[in-house]
């Protein structure tokens, strides 16, 4: 089951859902809008290697906006610190964002219950698009879980601003026995 906007607001007031800062104007019929922070990250590596820490450049979006080039990829973040210990959050684009050809995540919409922080947006632009700090770029829904809850305590907990991938920290190959043949 998905929470209605009114229920999201109630759960923010009772602290089952975190959304800081909270602006009641961001509540929709069944989601809450997320606004874009001013910091972006771009990878500098010629080829991404998931086993090696990637290098990034940080860019500040000026008040009059920054153009994302067609087929470019950047990481951005929500200004809001969001999460829940009771419900499973999911990230979505605003339909206005999607109609302009912008992905806000790259097949990673599901957030772990207990994860609280800014959301890192995976911004893939299919058309050139000017983005602005504070624009309503995405939205978050909350879903009721079934079963005993164990809270997230992973590496992205407490994110402030965009966080690059830290998959290189999972050195699974050192102990893993390999794919079954």
């Amino acid at each position: 089951m998905i929470l209605s906007g009114r229920e999201i607001q109630k759960r923010i007031e009772s602290a089952d859902i975190t959304c800081t800062p909270f602006d009641p104007d961001l509540i929709n019929p069944n989601s809450i809008d997320l606004t874009l922070g001013e910091s972006l990250l771009r990878y500098r590596d010629d080829v991404i290697d998931p086993r090696v820490e990637p290098e990034v450049t940080e860019i500040t979006i000026p008040p009059d906006g920054l153009v994302l080039d067609a087929m470019s990829f950047s990481l951005g973040a929500s200004r809001e610190i969001v999460g829940s210990t009771e419900f499973v959050p999911m990230v979505h684009a605003k339909s206005s964002t999607a109609r302009a050809g912008l992905f806000v995540h790259v097949t990673a919409d599901l957030i772990d219950i207990g994860s609280v922080g800014t959301v890192t947006f995976q911004l893939f632009a299919t058309l050139p698009l000017r983005v602005f700090p504070g624009m309503r770029i995405g939205q978050m829904t909350f879903w009721k879980p079934q079963g005993e809850i164990e809270l997230y305590s992973g590496k992205y907990q407490g994110s402030k601003g965009p966080r690059k991938s830290e998959i290189y920290r999972d050195r699974y190959w050192e102990t893993w026995e390999g794919l079954p043949s």
Partner: protein
């Protein structure tokens, strides 16, 4: 409702969810991490688009594959995954999305009753190396309401990356040869 990690583990123990092989360490608060399987195919158009696509198997170099940006590949999960009771949804890990790799193209929803190695639609937006066996994405499981229809689909019978049925392909002619699991069991009603 979406199952928590503890509920996924219990459903696997009861046989209501199949994840094979299953590793407790790959359970998340509300999903399960799957690994990338060993085979990856590059999908390229033929000169005459009506003739469909060419699907060529890549050879790994030094234990890894190099995937080029804006080029579609098909891969597969290492695990056989599905459920006769819950609806499976397959997405990426945020650590993979943060690297600009799509693992499916707005087709996250599985059919209840289909148990197989899932075909992944891999679309990198940056050049990237991939290692067979690396954790790539996650599956979540959702409770349904209403009477269940049995799954009678075609893709669910295959454990290797299958090309789109919309496109003519030599693989379809040999599809029966690729069947490595019996037809997925019909959903229990």
């Amino acid at each position: 409702m979406i199952l928590t990690g503890a509920a996924i583990t219990r459903a696997v123990e009861r046989g209501e969810i199949v994840i094979d092989p299953f590793e407790p360490a790959q359970v998340n608060p509300n999903s399960y991490n799957y690994r990338l399987g060993s085979e990856i195919f590059r999908v390229t158009p033929r000169e005459d688009p009506r003739a469909g696509v060419r699907q060529e198997q890549l050879e790994p170099t030094g234990g890894r594959y190099l995937l080029r940006r804006n080029q579609l590949y098909l891969g597969h999960t290492a695990e056989r995954i599905g459920s006769t009771r819950y609806v499976t949804s397959l997405i990426g890990r945020s650590s993979i999305g943060r690297l600009g790799l799509f693992v499916q193209l707005s087709a996250d929803l599985g059919h209840r009753g289909a148990v197989h190695r899932w075909t992944l639609e891999l679309l990198p937006v940056l050049d990237i190396y991939l290692y067979p066996g690396q954790i790539l994405g996650q599956v979540s499981f959702w409770a349904t309401t209403g009477e269940a229809l049995p799954y009678r689909g075609w893709y669910g019978r295959h454990d290797v990356p299958m090309p789109s049925k919309l496109l003519p392909s030599e693989l379809h002619r040999h599809a029966d040869r690729d069947v490595t699991v019996p037809r997925a069991r019909d959903a229990e009603t």
